[in-house]
Symmetry: D2
Subunit: 214 residues, 4 copies
């Protein structure tokens, strides 16, 4: 099995993005599955374009995208992405869409095809705070998650896909007057590892049940 994991480049004036910092720390294999880690741009539509290019190049069984959700305290595994772009800050190329549809022929929303409850439970079991989230916002993160699930729905039905939001890293909040919560990147990386571990197990079970040959 092959798993494509993506993180974003820094945005909003930040120097690092904890999503890619954590993704970089992942091992090459988890529970027997091979990992491919890439960085994608925090730019509407270009982020998801990079995901599709990587799908074509690496032909993964699973795509897990990871993004920063500054202000959240815990790992949040996203359940759903919506067909909407709406930004209060500019992305890395200056785009700031206003109430814009992402895909004219897409569903209003797509649910992740990853096992969110099992992922949250396995992360928690290892002592790391995690929750299911029912909104990935309306910025580039939601765009990437939506477009991934749209692609899976339209062109790659055999791929499983989803998204995880991670807190600020401690380095990012050190200088803030406000007492923003944070999580060390090493802990975020472990959480991603436990999430992927359970994804591999579930996808294996599923394929076996389907009679698929991996």
């Amino acid at each position: 099995m092959k798993i494509l994991v993506t993180g974003f480049d820094p945005f909003g004036g930040e120097k690092v993005n904890p999503s890619f910092e954590a993704v970089k720390l992942l091992p090459n294999t988890i529970a027997g599955a091979e990992l491919v880690a890439i960085e994608i741009p925090t730019v509407y539509f270009k982020g998801s374009e990079a995901v599709e290019n990587a799908i074509k190049q690496y032909k993964p069984d699973v795509v897990l995208c990871v993004g920063q959700a500054g202000g959240r305290s815990v790992i949040s595994v996203e359940k759903v992405a919506i067909n909407l772009a709406e930004a209060i800050i500019k992305d890395n190329e200056g785009n700031q869409p206003n109430d814009q549809q992402l895909k004219a022929d897409g569903e209003n929303a797509y649910f992740t095809t990853l096992p969110v409850k099992a992922m949250v439970n396995n992360i928690r079991k290892h002592g790391i705070p995690a929750n299911i989230s029912y909104t990935a916002g309306t910025f580039v993160c939601n765009n990437v998650m939506y477009d991934l699930l749209y692609l899976i729905n339209k062109k790659y039905p055999e791929i499983k896909g989803g998204f995880i939001h991670v807190p600020f890293s401690p380095e990012q909040v050190v200088g803030l007057a406000s007492n923003s919560p944070s999580m060390p990147v090493t802990m975020v990386a472990k959480a991603l590892e436990y999430a992927i571990e359970v994804i591999v197990t579930k996808v294996d079970e599923y394929k076996e049940a389907m009679g698929a040959i991996d």
Copy 2:
């Protein structure tokens, strides 16, 4: 130089107290100073009694007490303790004081004699979020800090003393429905180490200036 560092036992239904968990992880020496680490009870007046006993036994130059402040996101270095006990939960022996003075002959409050700004800056310099706090609450933590500074004021003027509050550990918030912030105990221990490092430097400078021989 000798530094006494204290952490509390668990309270409020918790199984661990991140303050002592972190204190246990400290090295035996920091910046040339010898550390003595002890656990004290989360009981009004008995916590501070344990601190005084340790002062008599170990004759430290510095006493740094550490306690849990559930719900806070960052390391908070306390500036001041007040002459008041007021509890909304019971301590570990069932005491729940109501608007009670701690010491009849004590000041209304004592300021820490540790260099709080330098401590916060050194913790932040190493990438760990920290702030000065102007309230240690009115539970056992404030009691221990107040009594320590009272003792220093009345009987041990050569000792420097202070208090640091630390967030919940991730393990403590894993099961919470609310998304409470947390900080890994290993990171808390590093923060304490950076705080102590700067305490040692400042106390050394101070002693040198005073012509003291350590």
Copy 3:
């Protein structure tokens, strides 16, 4: 024009529900439109059944459902409802669905057909804090909003529908140890009035443009 406005009965151990308390305070007409106010049960599927019955009885042009979102600080106008029921507490008849679809033949999500930005702007213009929200949760509120938009989509395309979440009332948080935010029910009622005012204007404009005769 006729507008059906719904609020919920109390749930989760509360004695009042600020949503219906506020709805009760609304005037009989706003900007020339007639209002019909009803209370609906905080019970999965029965809440939305009550909405459909009221649609049949009153034949409204607009349906605005209102619910309590304890812990939120401001009026939040919901943009989207998702095809999912998932509860961490029981509803008023003991139901606690687990990862359950609301409608087998429904879309993954429906966007409100009310003008959320204009509603938020008009509420703010009158000095009341408000925001757009991109998640109505997965409890009975989302169920009612989803089912309303499903009904509109399938059977009542001429009706406009949406949902507003309101904070706790001050009375509800008075006894809480935590410092939960709240908003007076009279202020919530004014916010609803300003939201409805702009709905009436926009629907009027829309109908005129369509050549509809009201």
Copy 4:
């Protein structure tokens, strides 16, 4: 009985200060006591100078100062003020003290001489969220409270004095991207009225017990 109530002028870029907006709404008498309401400047030492001038002019039995605590959700009745000035923003004359003592001959802290628990209880009894706070910060609010209690301690022992912090008004947070909590100024004014009501009763009881003639 005469009660001096003070509110601050706007600071930190705000156009209004809810403390004086609320104070302006108070009636001329509460529970038989006469009220005098004044605005004081948000300037270190000048705020408290204005309080002392008003004490000389009006000879009140009670002084209640009121200030804004942006970000807090509920009315907070302050228990204690500390002998420290430390600012992260400039006051209205550009002062930004750094770890500065307020009074060289003052105590480390003073406790309010107003009945904080009875005040909180009476506010809550009327349905308005309130709590005791154990920190008035280190900006001009703490300065005014500290200097008031210092004055009472040194020169006006017959006066009772204290401080109440109030949330942002809704108008102040309407434009904020963040969802800051707020409380309508009319509700804040009612809370102050209930606080003063109980102060009058308690001071009357106290004077009667002391044999004082009002």
